[in-house]
């Protein structure tokens, strides 16, 4: 007997998509993405001092990057944080799991279904914004913009996988909320810890801000533990940027797009395996 059943996975994924796409919060998020892209483009155009109202794709992406690093995790966590704990609490999971379906299929169905909702809202939000820019300013860096959308989806999937893991671990919806908040703030807490270590090793804030400063290797390596940083680094690589937020960064070779993508894939896979272990052991 096969380990997974594609038909069951598809059924669950379809159900999750239909159920969540009608969630008013998700719809609101989609509209926010769209408005944000247009606004970012407008700001980028204004900043560059050009004659165009809107900025090009590269400038827009740089502007939008810091915001999407925050917003995408929020929407992913919103979709996933209680997908198992909440369903267990409401009682729908106890019906579902008495059907001829394995828990692995339920889990994968949820990942694909919620992942589709996430990617759908990213594509609609940022994609429509991209089309508007392409129509008004031009489609320069169009491929890189598509890469931006893809990488943003990967960021979303990392957080989705993490939040599904939280929901498989937590017994109740309330504790899942705490877990979701925790993974959301992880990036900031981690950033602060890293910066603290940086200052403790004798590097001053002025040095850190100096263009061309040679950052220690471990600082670059540390981004493998922060999904948000990996995302930003990947997008910059995709656009061939070395400058963003006023920093000039000469990234070492091991921070290539390929390695970063691989690392992000691990970030999706590991929480998922943990989620399966928690889910399989769980009493519904």
């Amino acid at each position: 007997m096969a380990f997974i059943n594609l038909r069951s996975i598809y059924s669950v994924a379809k159900k999750e998509f239909m159920d969540n796409i009608r969630n008013k919060w998700i719809i609101a998020m989609m509209i926010i993405f769209l408005l944000l892209t247009i606004l970012a483009s407008y700001l980028a155009g204004g900043q560059a001092g050009g004659e165009e109202t809107f900025g090009g794709m590269e400038d827009t992406v740089v502007t939008i990057l810091s915001i999407s690093t925050l917003l995408i995790p929020i929407i992913a966590i919103m979709l996933g944080y209680s997908t198992i704990s909440g369903e267990a609490e409401s009682g729908s999971l106890s019906i579902l799991l008495t059907y001829p379906i394995k828990r692995i299929d339920v889990l994968l169905g949820k990942l694909f279904g919620l992942g589709s909702v996430l990617i759908f809202s990213i594509v609609v939000g940022f994609g429509t914004g991209g089309l508007i820019i392409a129509a008004t300013v031009g489609a320069a860096e169009g491929i890189a913009y598509l890469a931006f959308i893809a990488l943003t989806s990967v960021l979303g999937l990392m957080y989705l996988s993490l939040s599904i893991c939280i929901s498989a671990f937590c017994k109740k919806r309330v504790t899942s909320i705490a877990g979701g908040v925790m993974i959301f703030f992880w990036a900031m807490i981690y950033g602060m810890i890293i910066f603290g270590i940086l200052l403790a090793t004798g590097i001053t804030f002025e040095e850190f801000m100096t263009p061309g400063f040679a950052y220690p290797d471990w600082l670059f390596q540390s981004i493998f533990f922060s999904p948000g940083d990996m995302y930003q680094m990947s997008v910059m690589q995709a656009f061939g940027l070395s400058q963003a937020f006023g920093f000039t960064i000469e990234a070492p070779e091991y921070l290539s797009l390929g390695i970063l993508t691989f690392a992000q894939f691990i970030w999706i896979l590991v929480p998922l395996i943990l989620a399966y272990i928690f889910f399989k052991r769980r009493d519904i």
Binding site: R7, G91, L97, T98, D283
Partner: protein, 356 residues
């Protein structure tokens, strides 16, 4: 309870009596005074060969220090309606969730059709319809989308969905989102969901909980109808009147332990809950015949119009009837009144708690 007419071997006077299946009652012919023993026939289904379709073997489930199930044993026979009884918090839902393979037992096992139930055993699940105690669906889906989804999982053609919704009286709600449903409506959708694929076994956890009287009646009729069509049904309840007239056999759980498993009749016999003798005496006029309570074995006697109600041992019944005859009164009819399950339940629980 069986009604049977006996003929006196001497004078051929016909006497109608009622009693439990298999019960022997001494009767006295009101005409010639001849004593005899009337035997009520035992119910034949009791003797039929049966197959245990669900076996619960030494099932134990601990939540920390709480022993929700503590060595539970019982079995459900193929084709019967089985009542799983117990007060709130007795461990009914825990046992049912273990039965459905939703939770992991601390020890012991459940076998359905000879196969061990575990998390992820999927073959058995095709033949089981389940209604949980707490019912939840997907808020943003319509009832049709919800049932379509469950049909897909069970590999059943979706064309049955409208009929299922009609069956439970939800045909007017097909455009609404399930998130807007009341508790009772969700319960009905839950029942519709359980019927997908005509399962051979139904496991219903408090199927009448949260429903008003009209729907309780409909659900009860539904259960009997499904059983007549050949399905084995297990349902739990803490309300005994729901179970009494529906179940073939019952099992009573309290504090995680099975304290009785039997037919309702045998349960009463085991507990020695004394049935009452109901005697029709024309012209009694609400007066208890003097001296009747002094007969050995008689606990209590009261009169309601022409009806005399005597609580007594079965051995005292002929003496009571004889006594009445001697008083010059005529017995036109008599029957024994079975004690209710409610009595059995209260007595069982107080018995268990008296021991522990």
């Amino acid at each position: 309870m069986i009604t049977k007419t006996f003929a006196c071997p001497d004078c051929k006077t016909r006497i109608t009596g009622q009693g439990n299946p298999g019960e022997k009652v001494q009767i006295v012919c009101p005409n010639c005074g001849k004593k005899g023993v009337a035997v009520f026939p035992s119910v034949k289904t009791e003797e039929k060969a049966y197959v245990n379709i669900i076996e619960i073997i030494n099932l134990t489930k601990h939540f920390g220090k709480v022993r929700a199930n503590d060595g539970v044993n019982f079995s459900v026979r193929k084709g019967e309606i089985f009542g799983f009884l117990g007060p709130n918090g007795a461990g009914k839902t825990t046992a049912i969730k273990l039965m459905m393979g939703l939770t992991h037992p601390t020890s012991g096992e459940v076998r359905i059709g000879g196969n061990k139930v575990q998390i992820d055993t999927i073959d058995i699940r095709k033949y089981i319809g389940y209604l949980p105690e707490q019912i939840g669906f997907y808020d943003n889906l319509t009832p049709v989308q919800t049932l379509n989804f469950f049909c897909e999982l069970k590999g059943v053609d979706k064309s049955i969905v409208m009929n299922l919704l009609k069956d439970v009286g939800l045909e007017d709600t097909i455009d609404r989102k399930v998130g807007t449903f009341s508790k009772g409506m969700k319960q009905l959708l839950g029942i519709a969901q359980a019927m997908i694929g005509n399962p051979a076994i139904y496991v219903l956890d408090e199927p009448m909980g949260g429903l008003d009287a009209r729907w309780v009646k409909i659900v009860r009729e539904k259960i009997m109808m499904l059983n007549k069509a050949g399905a084995t049904i297990v349902f739990s309840s803490h309300i005994l009147s729901e179970v009494q007239n529906v179940c073939h056999r019952v099992s009573v759980i309290n504090k995680g332990k099975i304290i009785a498993e039997n037919t309702i009749d045998n349960l009463n016999q085991y507990l020695r809950i004394i049935p009452r003798l109901e005697i029709n005496i024309p012209g009694l006029n609400g007066k208890v015949p003097e001296g009747i309570v002094n007969i050995q074995g008689v606990e209590m006697a009261e009169a309601k119009g022409d009806l005399l109600l005597v609580t007594c041992d079965s051995s005292a019944r002929p003496i009571v009837l004889n006594f009445i005859e001697k008083k010059g009164m005529t017995v036109s009819n008599f029957k024994t009144i079975e004690p209710s399950l409610e009595d059995a339940f209260v007595k069982l629980i107080s018995k268990q708690e008296g021991v522990t």
